[in-house]
């Protein structure tokens, strides 16, 4: 009986930690100052929040209900596959729209300088520049 009590305590701990991390990640959305910084909250803190919640779920259903816990594993897998990809795409589109960043940001990427980037669509890395510039007209804004 005591093991169950301890286990429930551990599960509650994980649930609370998960909630706290998810909350902090969302807080980052309001707290951080520019688009690129806000990107960090959802990709990291939220991963941890969901991870803790899933661990709690695995413990509960695995030990107390003694069911197999494959679904939580799958959710974790999907999360690890999708989170960085979506963050990368968001960052890419942010660069493409040349969203402003806070002044203390160091480093001046050419993607954000207006004079070097035309209005050409970005070609696939494997195909290089020439392939698209001759065939496709630049996109109109």
């Amino acid at each position: 009986m005591t093991t169950f009590v301890i286990l429930e305590g551990v599960i509650s701990l994980f649930l609370i930690a998960g909630g706290a991390f998810a909350f902090i990640g969302s807080l980052g959305m309001t707290h951080l100052r520019d688009f690129y910084m806000r990107l960090h909250g959802p990709t990291k803190a939220t991963t941890m929040g969901i991870g803790c919640t899933l661990i709690a779920s695995m413990l509960y259903f695995g030990v107390i209900d003694s069911q197999p816990v494959v679904q939580e594993m799958l959710i974790t897998l999907f999360l690890f596959i999708t989170a960085p990809v979506s963050a990368h795409l968001l960052a890419k589109s942010g660069l493409h729209k040349k969203l402003p960043h806070v002044d203390k940001t160091r480093g001046r990427p050419p993607e954000l300088r207006s004079e070097e980037i035309g209005e050409k669509p970005v070609p696939h890395p494997a195909q290089g520049h020439e392939h698209l510039t001759h065939e496709n007209k630049p996109l109109h804004r």
Binding site: F21, I24, G25, L27, G28, H31, L32, D34, Y36, M37, L39, H40, G41, T43, K44, A45, T47, M48, P68, V70, Q71, L74, F80, A83, P84, V85, A87, H88, A91, K92, G94, L95, H101, V102, K104, T105, R106, G107, R108, P109, E111, L112, V122, P123, P125, A126, G128, H129
Partner: protein, 165 residues
């Protein structure tokens, strides 16, 4: 790109889809087997154009160690980013870092970019057109060169050893 050979362009993906489907519905009933098989045939047919040929894993042991290290780093990353967000006296100095890539194959570059996004304070923002540099946005960086050296040591070199040479 994978050339369409037959109605099962990527057999491994089809098998994976079927297994994942059965795990998701948690049953082995005939109906689910059928539905899963249909999905396992249809989805690769629609998506094989996006798939690249994967390089062979040359050192599986190293890959396992790499995954464990990344998992550990993800936990550390979470605490760091959470602390940066809630710390009221924060002096974060965001930074755009240009990272010179050693890796050459697109699959390994993808893996590296994803790893960078998941680990401490960095999001990979843009892969340059020439495929030689990666633009990284870092949340709090004092020394650009130290960050580059760390990524090279911890992630890029193991990946290169695992897949490329």
């Amino acid at each position: 790109m994978i050339t369409p050979r037959s109605w099962l362009p990527i057999p491994l993906l089809s098998l994976l889809l079927l297994v994942v489907w059965l795990l998701m519905v948690r049953s082995l009933a005939v109906g689910h087997l059928l539905l899963g098989s249909v999905l396992a045939v249809i989805i690769p047919l629609f998506t094989y154009r996006f798939w690249d040929v994967q390089p062979r894993v040359k050192k599986p042991g190293l890959l396992l160690r790499f995954i464990l290290r990344v998992l550990g780093d993800i936990i550390v990353a979470n605490f760091q980013v959470a602390w940066l967000i809630i710390n009221p006296w924060q002096r974060s100095s965001p930074h755009f870092v240009e990272y010179p890539l050693m890796l050459e194959e697109r699959f390994t570059i993808t893996l590296l970019a994803n790893t960078i996004s998941l680990t401490p304070g960095t999001v990979s923002a843009n892969l340059r057109l020439d495929g030689k540099t990666l633009l990284i946005h870092a949340l709090n960086v004092e020394d650009e060169d130290a960050l580059i050296a760390e990524i090279q040591d911890r992630y890029e070199r193991p990946l290169k050893e695992i897949y490329e040479c």
